[in-house]
């Protein structure tokens, strides 16, 4: 779980920085970063995860393997956020309050981090809390297919793997219970995200 969070944070930092730079400076920088995003987006994700996960040396301890897997997932996962941040920055950089900050003599980094980024707080929080369940689902999916964690490590995906064929479910339906927990966890994170977004919204109160 904490490893999953690390992955989310990496995605966040990459997405916000590259998206922000791309949107604020525009021009050639923007073009390069956008092409990079398009390239990453065009990679077929599941085969890549599979290939990379399969290529990890089996001698590594399980948690190291898992860490590398989340790293891979996050290196592919920052693009969506990057796009959104770029769009918002493009729209915002000509807003009067940003022009006002420039006229105040604020440096570029101060404009980006002090004036523009806070407007994205609610969006970032929402996408953060949505990314965590995605990480859980990705890990579950990989483990379910047998390429992620393997026993003796325990994860929902590993547990669900037992429920892979019809016969075992019909004989032991409780094997399906971890699936319920995945749903519950993912939903909870979504609700948490909703709540945090409302709390960060200055118009709300």
């Amino acid at each position: 779980m904490s490893i999953g969070l690390v992955g989310v944070v990496i995605s966040l930092v990459l997405g916000v920085t590259l998206g922000g730079i791309s949107g604020y400076f525009g021009g050639r920088v923007d073009a390069v970063i956008q092409r990079l995003i398009e390239f990453v987006l065009s990679l077929p994700t599941i085969p890549i995860w599979l290939a990379l996960a399969a290529s990890l040396p089996p001698s590594w301890p399980i948690y190291k393997q898992y860490f590398v897997i989340t790293l891979i997932v996050s290196l592919v996962g920052w693009t969506e956020l990057g796009r959104v941040v770029r769009g918002r920055f493009l729209a915002m950089k000509n807003d009067d309050f940003v022009v006002a900050a420039r006229l105040d003599g604020a440096s570029e980094s101060r404009i980006i981090f002090r004036h523009m980024l806070p407007s994205l707080t609610s969006h970032i929080i929402a996408s953060l809390t949505l990314a965590i369940p995605l990480m859980i689902l990705a890990e579950t999916g990989l483990s379910f297919l047998g390429f992620g964690l393997t026993p003796p490590a325990i994860s929902w995906g590993v547990l669900l793997k037992e429920a892979q064929n019809i016969i075992s479910i019909s004989q032991a339906p409780w094997l399906f219970i971890p699936g319920g927990f995945v749903v519950l966890a993912v939903l909870s994170f979504n609700f948490l995200g909703d709540g945090m977004r409302d709390a960060a919204d200055p118009y709300g109160h």
Partner: protein
Amino acid sequence: MRQTLMDTDTSPILQVQNLNLGFNMRQGMVNVLHGISFDLHRGKTTCVVGESGSGKSITARAILNMVPRPGTINSGQILFNPDGSGQINLTSLDPRGKPIRKIRGGRIGMIFQEPMSSLSPIHTIGNQITEVIQLHRNVDKKTARQMAIAALAQVEIPKPEKAVDRYAFEYSGGMRQRAMIAMALSCQPDVLIADEPTTALDVTTQAEILDLMKSLQRELDTAIMFITHDMGVVAEIADEVVVMEKGHVVEKGNIHQVYNAPQHVYTKKLLTAVKRLNQPASTKVRPCTQAQNILQIRDLSLRFEKKEGFFQRITDVTKAVDGVSFDLKEGESLGIVGESGSGKTTLGRCIARVYDPNSGVINYKGQDLMQANASALRETRKRMRMIFQDPFASLNPRMTVKQIIAEPLIINKLANLAELEEIVSTILSQVGLDPNMMERYPHAFSGGQRQRIVIARAIALKPELIIADEPTSALDVSIRTQVLDLLLQLQAEMGLSFIFISHDMAVIRYFCDRVAVMYRGQIVEIGETEQIITSPQHPYTKALLSSVPIPDPTLRGTRQRHRYEPDS
């Protein structure tokens, strides 16, 4: 024939009686309209006046029975009597039912404020008009198209046979509003509701649209309900006036009666605000005669180039600012007036070097800002500040008022954290705001208060020159004078010079010593404000001045409208 009909036909065509309307919120019912009543008569224009939030637009929607959720009509009735035969109570009809849909668009037409968003971008103008006609008239497509062309011709759109197949984006703002009027009038409705139809338009276009509505009304004998906040427009077109404040009708009556002998305090307040704006401010401090030039602009130009294709070939050049020159003395206010697209805002932003002009000289106290490097520019910008038009967009919604005002002080290291609170509270009281409110976020303030915050941010660094870009155009009239008075007071206290950009001649007259008239990126006329207003030389200035509504109904029709159509 018609004349006699009108004389005998005194019963109102539409009566709003004791209308109560509320929004059903989580906290309970919030009442928006408190028992309002007024009548509309055939062939007469009834102006509904009030500031934003007074319930004007919601009244219009209630008449069409299109109250947005969670609004509900609690009591009262709206009686519609198109032909004198029987009254229909519009509030009792099912909002989605067939009877009301027959009336909407057919018997009661509506024009909206924003011509940009009220026309569909993906259908041709002709299609949109024929749709209305076919919904309400039993005609085939071909006839409907002919009727649409006739409707466009009626609103004086040139070449209606061609214009009918154009899309909304191919029309200018004024043309779009004409098309909207054509659409609303295409079924020859008995009542036309116009919700601030000219607010988004330039004065010259506004004058044309008002003239057009008047002549169409004479032709079709329509009852017009005209919603506006501009008392000048009211004086120009109204027969009857209904003044609204906070969901109450505080005064109604004949235009002359309301203008000459207003009864209610609020009406008086509105009228004095307008009348004060019709002359120079009495508290204005004139610059002293030996004052030095603070700013000299010479041949300033900015072109916007449209680049296309792989090689970024320049396909189109717009001269936003085209060789502008003027001087500004210390303590002087120079107004820059012109319609939208004349380049006045761009000029202001060029001087502050928000945009980089292509050529010219910006001589600020002997220093050419065109050649200035980043640090010199930062120094100058401490003394040359900007006030923006939209007080909602120019304040960062995520920062408290204190943070916003302190920001320039912190960046320029002019105050340490301990003093900050005290400085901010001094500045806040200087602009007439309560210092205790400094921890709040901008959205907790009204438009006028927000503009005071913007002004506070501008004066925080004790500047010499302020470039004010339409600082009052987003505000209601009564608040407009308050903000202008504040600026005048600050000018007297701090010896500020102003470049005051506005499209509103009245505001310029109130505030500025000199005025420059801009047209298509060039200054066509510059001089003392009073002199320009009383004896304009350039034909464009004449056209502009003749379009400004006179806030006196007795002088209606005494002025000849000029049109300026340069051959280009």
